[in-house]
């Protein structure tokens, strides 16, 4: 009798336990689905807001390269051609853009074009000098306001005083659309130009290069130092109070807010050492300091994961400690070390606050070509664009986020690739 009661108890407990199992499985599954949904939503928002930035609006403009207006002759030298009066050609082209434009309308029409049109008219001529004294149909960049209107990003049904384009301009744009004198093409400017006050010609090339130079500095500074420090701490350092203190402080440093490192860069690198402001060199140094603890911790973990028997084996055949470490332990730890470094670099890539402190938030309209040139960085660029009032910058910031995400994705891909490659060797 007692026996059967005990049995029943065991059976019901078993049922309860397996139910518990089931429930936990579903909890986990739900959690995963939720996080996936959030991720998909995030990516969707970014993409739906940003994809239009990869297109720009261009307008067909008839330009008359008259030699009298240009003050050039067909025999002019290249240097003279540079000095041609292209602004007069452009003025003429805009005056004749629509038939019978009044003076006030010319002003309005002029605002449909990008500031970059002067340069486009000039570049077209310099590339094809034989077009002198002919009329050419050239596709030139439209103003951001037109661009945004045609992409549907700015609304036309609001009162005139709350619109960038007034009713007359709207009717001109509609006319252009009707006559097929306007179209949307791939926005090469976004990838080839640096920041600009004018959204239609603002690009991420400058901040991308800035980020690249910054990451290069971070890598050059932090990788050797981190490897050296972690190998020393893990393999050579005596275990005493001082090394313990160092270890604790490395973990503490990893938790220090990044803006504090920015202050350090401002106070020490800029003010004491007088390094140039807003440059990848300074930004990279600050970010290297910030990522060092992360990389050291990852490196030490991967060094620790190498079985001690390998080192013992090397020592037993008479290798010195250095040989045992650098011939056997470090190569085995390298995949983990690389992954840790790339995680650190990814962290550095997304960091904004310390860069603001050392002045990388300045408006830099040029693409940097070196470590000591002022430049922006991708996250700071996004911050700047998000802050801008101009509607045209909104899609740009979403697109720049896409660029930074792809950049991160590629870095991780490289990490995985390197890891697999090194692991295959063994």
């Amino acid at each position: 009798m007692n026996n059967s009661i005990a049995k029943e108890k065991i059976v019901s407990l078993r049922k309860k336990r397996s139910l518990e199992d089931m429930r936990f499985k579903y909890y986990g599954f739900t959690a995963m689905c939720l996080s996936l949904a959030v991720l998909v939503f995030l990516l969707y928002t970014i993409f739906s807001k940003g994809y239009t930035a990869f297109q720009k609006t261009i307008v067909l403009l008839e330009v008359d390269y008259n030699q009298k207006v240009l003050k050039l002759t067909p025999d002019s030298s290249d240097e003279d051609m540079e000095k041609g009066k292209f602004f007069r050609v452009k003025k003429q082209a805009i005056e004749n853009f629509f038939p019978d434009l009044s003076k006030s309308d010319i002003k309005l029409v002029k605002k449909l074009f990008s500031i970059n049109v002067d340069k486009e008219i000039k570049d077209y001529f310099l590339d094809n000098p034989e077009v002198i004294n002919t009329k050419q149909q050239i596709w030139v960049t439209a103003h951001s306001d037109v661009d945004q209107l045609l992409k549907g990003n700015s609304r036309r049904d609001v009162p005139e005083d709350r619109r960038k384009l007034n009713d007359i301009q709207l009717s001109y744009v509609d006319q252009l659309v009707e006559e097929n004198r306007v179209k949307q093409v791939f926005n090469n400017f976004f990838f080839t130009k640096a920041d600009s006050r004018h959204p239609e010609i603002a690009g991420v090339a400058g901040s991308f290069m800035g980020s690249l130079f910054t990451l290069f500095t971070v890598f050059i500074l932090s990788f050797p130092i981190a490897i050296g420090a972690s190998v020393y701490l893990e393999e050579f350092a005596p275990k005493n109070r001082i090394t313990e203190l160092i270890e604790v402080n490395i973990s503490n440093l990893a938790a220090v807010p990044s803006i504090v490192f920015g202050l350090l860069g401002l106070g020490v690198l800029l003010n004491v050492f007088g390094l140039p402001r807003s440059t990848p060199l300074v930004g990279g140094s600050v970010l290297a300091l910030m990522t060092l603890p992360t990389i050291i911790i990852a490196c030490r973990a991967s060094l620790k994961a190498v079985p001690p028997s390998i080192k013992e084996g090397a020592l037993a055949v008479g290798a010195t400690k250095t040989q045992a470490v650098f011939h056997h332990v470090v190569p085995l730890a390298l995949p983990g070390t690389l992954t840790g470094t790339i995680i650190g670099l990814a962290q550095a890539l997304g960091e904004t606050a310390p860069l603001i402190m050392i002045g990388m938030i300045a408006f830099i309209p040029n693409i940097p070509t070196g470590l000591t040139e002022p430049s922006a960085a991708l996250p700071v660029q996004i911050y700047l664009w998000v802050e801008s009032a101009e509607r045209g910058f909104q899609e740009k910031s979403a697109a720049a986020i896409m660029v930074i995400l792809i950049f991160l994705f590629m870095m991780n891909a490289i990490a995985v690739f390197l890891r697999n490659r090194f692991e295959r060797k063994w």
């Binding site: 079985p307 037993a316 055949v317 290798a319």
Partner: protein, 253 residues
């Protein structure tokens, strides 16, 4: 009567404040197999690792007393552990080939010691070491495959080949067969018997039968003390000490 190769005198070992070995004195003869037996934690591995100073790796381990190898003191600050370890090879409990090719595993020692001048010489050393370890015929066609792809017994013989490639005089073996099956164990035991002609071998083992089979001398450790040492035959048939008697008859340990 062969010569004394290793002479230990009053060796004490401390792990931190805990004493692991109490005044061990021992005389190990040249070209003999000496087996160290005793229950777990009795200090036989600790003693073995004193001989090639592997205990240096353990921060808290302090060794005092005297161990002379070929009449040279090795428990001293001045001892060059690198040359000591090239003279005294070691084979570990768990096979630990480097995650490199079979060839590179054996070639590593001779390369770092600069024992060879040319690729041919290196190849010769690798081949002869593998032959001496009785592994050559099994792996000669796949010297470039990773050492870790071999079976456990083969890996252990690879580690023996790696140890003898630097031409040591003494080989220390720390329970070399504890991770192997009986067939692989038999092969290694046979190998030890052959190696005895050229090397002085000290082997730590938990298997009484193994000690009886391969060794000429046996030392019985208990709780950090050397209880009895003598001819293997004598220890296993007629030990002087009752503790030895109890251990080898399986009454404890």
């Amino acid at each position: 009567m062969s010569n004394s190769k290793i002479l230990a005198n009053g060796v004490d070992v401390y792990y931190g404040s805990k004493q692991a070995l109490f005044g061990i004195s021992m005389d190990i003869k040249e070209k003999e197999v000496t087996a160290l037996i005793g229950p777990s934690g009795c200090g036989k591995s600790t003693f073995l690792r004193c001989i090639n100073r592997m205990n240096d790796l353990i921060e808290i381990c302090k060794v005092s007393g005297s161990i002379k190898v070929d009449n040279e003191e090795i428990i001293s600050e001045k001892t060059d552990v690198v040359s000591l370890r090239s003279k005294i090879g070691m084979v570990f409990q768990k096979p630990n080939p480097f995650p490199k090719s079979i060839f590179d595993n054996v070639a590593y020692g001779p390369t770092i010691h600069g024992l060879v001048d040319s690729k041919n010489e290196l190849e010769e050393i690798v081949h002869s070491s593998l032959k001496k370890a009785g592994l050559f015929d099994e792996v000669k066609d796949r010297l470039n495959e990773p050492g870790t792809s071999l079976s456990g017994g083969q890996q252990q013989r690879l580690c023996i080949a790696r140890a003898i490639a630097v031409n040591p005089e003494i080989i220390l073996m720390d329970e070399p067969c504890s991770a192997l099956d009986p067939i692989a164990t038999a092969i290694i035991e046979e190998l030890i018997d052959e190696l005895r002609l050229n090397y002085t071998i000290i082997i730590v083992t938990h298997s009484m039968q193994q000690a009886a089979r391969v060794s000429q001398k046996t030392c019985f450790f208990h709780l950090g003390e050397l209880i009895e040492t003598g001819e293997t035959n004598k220890i296993f048939t007629n030990p002087d000490n009752t503790k030895t008697q109890d251990y080898i008859t399986g009454r404890f340990g």
